[in-house]
Symmetry: C2
């Protein structure tokens, strides 16, 4: 717990100027190997590390792209992190992961961070943004929104966007169930007031039912409980339990894999078996779904492609291409063992 070392201290100790120290630690070619070695030895000896605030402040630009995520609990997003990091590295950029807490405003965090770190670009992952181009107007660097939801009736915003069509994919899931002969299909949807991802997926559910001439029964619609974190196993368990007590059905559509895993438990406790008594389909395609018993049939989001093309879009934008693009990727039906 010694006092804070600065570049000056190192310079003084070595009997050189601060710029020489700076050159040494930054691999600047304009320094003699001897001096460099001498300086670096001292740096190491005292474990000197430069102050990044000073560095960031001075540097006109960095080589860093930040990935900003709100809330860590989403396991689907977590599984994309590595991909982003690698893809960015591959493109020669440093990667900065920045978590913003649930209460904070993502847009403002992004703007702050961009200034602070002189970012080259920003990728925002997940969450919901009503007016991206407006909220992010002060974001002075290129950015792309990856699976950022906007509310149902907002026209596609004028920004770089990578996403899936939640309503359509949801439709696909339910259609699949219908094609399998199911008529009474329950859903574990998002929160009742969710007009973003949850709302869209619920919309797809209703559309599929209507398309097949099956009347919508409100008893079959379960909304995630407000008193339990969203999209969690626990919430899925609680809602499935309610559903099971309230009414009958032969298939259950869970708008996220994690909630489906909770539903498994409720179903098992009800003495029912999957898929013999009840079919279950999930959404997301997380790895865990391979290991549930039975393995979870689900709608798999093409996360690798989404990661890759998010980065590609950002690279384009960084390199001066200022036409924003909206890329919607098709998800795929992953048939495993939970539907019959």
């Amino acid at each position: 717990m010694s006092d804070q070392l600065t570049i000056k201290d190192i310079a003084k100790y070595c009997g050189v100027g601060v710029s020489t120290v700076s050159r040494a630690i930054n691999d600047d070619p304009g320094i003699s190997p001897k001096t460099k070695e001498r300086v670096l030895k001292v740096v190491k000896k005292f474990h000197y590390v430069p102050n990044n605030s000073a560095r960031n402040l001075k540097m006109q630009e960095s080589n860093t792209v930040a990935l900003i995520v709100r809330g860590i609990d989403n396991i689907f997003f977590q599984s994309m992190l590595d991909g982003f990091q690698n893809e960015l590295y591959r493109n020669g950029y440093d990667f900065l992961f920045h978590l913003v807490d649930e209460k904070s405003n993502v847009a403002i965090s992004a703007i702050e961070l961009a200034k602070e770190k002189r970012l080259k670009g920003v990728i925002i992952l997940g969450g919901m943004m009503e007016n991206p181009s407006e909220d992010l107007e002060q974001l002075a660097v290129p950015y792309v929104l990856c699976t950022v939801a906007h509310s149902m009736y907002t026209p596609t915003p004028n920004v770089n966007l990578v996403a899936i069509d939640d309503a359509m994919e949801s439709f696909k899931a339910v259609k699949y169930l219908i094609d399998k002969g199911h008529k009474r299909i329950a859903i574990i949807s998002g929160r009742e007031k969710d007009y973003a991802v949850g709302g869209q997926r619920l919309r797809g559910y209703k559309k599929a039912l209507e398309g097949a001439g099956i009347p919508i029964d409100d008893d079959l619609i379960g909304y995630m409980r407000e008193d339990i974190p969203e999209f969690t196993t626990e919430n899925g368990y609680a809602v499935a339990k309610e559903l099971l007590q309230r009414t009958d059905f032969t298939a259950l559509y869970c708008i996220s894999d994690m909630t489906a895993i909770g539903a498994y438990k409720a179903i098992s406790e009800a003495g029912l078996s999957i898929p013999d008594d009840l079919s279950v389909i999930g959404f997301d395609g997380i790895d865990l779904g391979r290991f549930t018993i039975p393995a979870l049939t689900t709608i798999k989001q093409p996360k690798d492609e989404m990661v890759k093309s998010s980065v590609d879009l950002l690279m384009k934008a960084i390199n001066g291409d200022d036409t924003p693009r909206q890329l919607f990727y098709p998800a795929s039906l992953l048939e495993r063992e939970s539907v019959r």
Copy 2:
């Protein structure tokens, strides 16, 4: 994508000095309400956000404590995040979560971050540190290590430490199995070269067996595969499968709950049933374990207490108490349904 606004721009636009703007945005009392309002209106109008690098550089101190974690994949650590954040807020500190990637050195990241952000304190969560007090010598602020492992034979380091006794708790798990009458008990351990958490837990396993006069059979020891991320469901699945093919046993001890979940799958695929044919016990006590079928019996780490006392220790240290303490918490056996 306008140009970067600085405090000067705002000052100029308002026709005031920069210090006045600074006072306005920092709620400094020494400013007339009128001017303040006028300035803030302009700030809002242009969506001005100050540059944190400049701010951090200038500020002599912050009010921030950082939580540093290496690698996000550990679901057990994830479940502690919220607790840390709340506990720190409750103590009046800002919370900064900082993720360092697998390749980087946690100690250096901590030192850098402390300088950059003028941190008040640091909590390091998880990972492994051979010589904490040495590696962190340049960390100029108080810190505590929470569940940071050190290798088997290192004496307890002279730092603030909150942890469980991995070997002892592991012993407890295996002892429980033995008391239930099991003699052939397999283990899914960490990587073969893991001398930290994995090694300790393996040690506890061996000790329990020896204590009961059961000879150790290397065939019963499964090491996590090197080609699959550690402590994952996938790894648990792969190792359990190998174990099942290689030998017979009536109980399986998995040193992490996530790997146990993978083992469930392998066991199911082998046509065996839990706990009738095979008992399984995990380690960690993650929420998911409640929802597996059958619910997972496990050793539950007292994470809430560990979080709270990590923060307490840090508060003490920040307030001048410079006696480092090592707190080892007892874990508890959580009997659910997977052992018989």
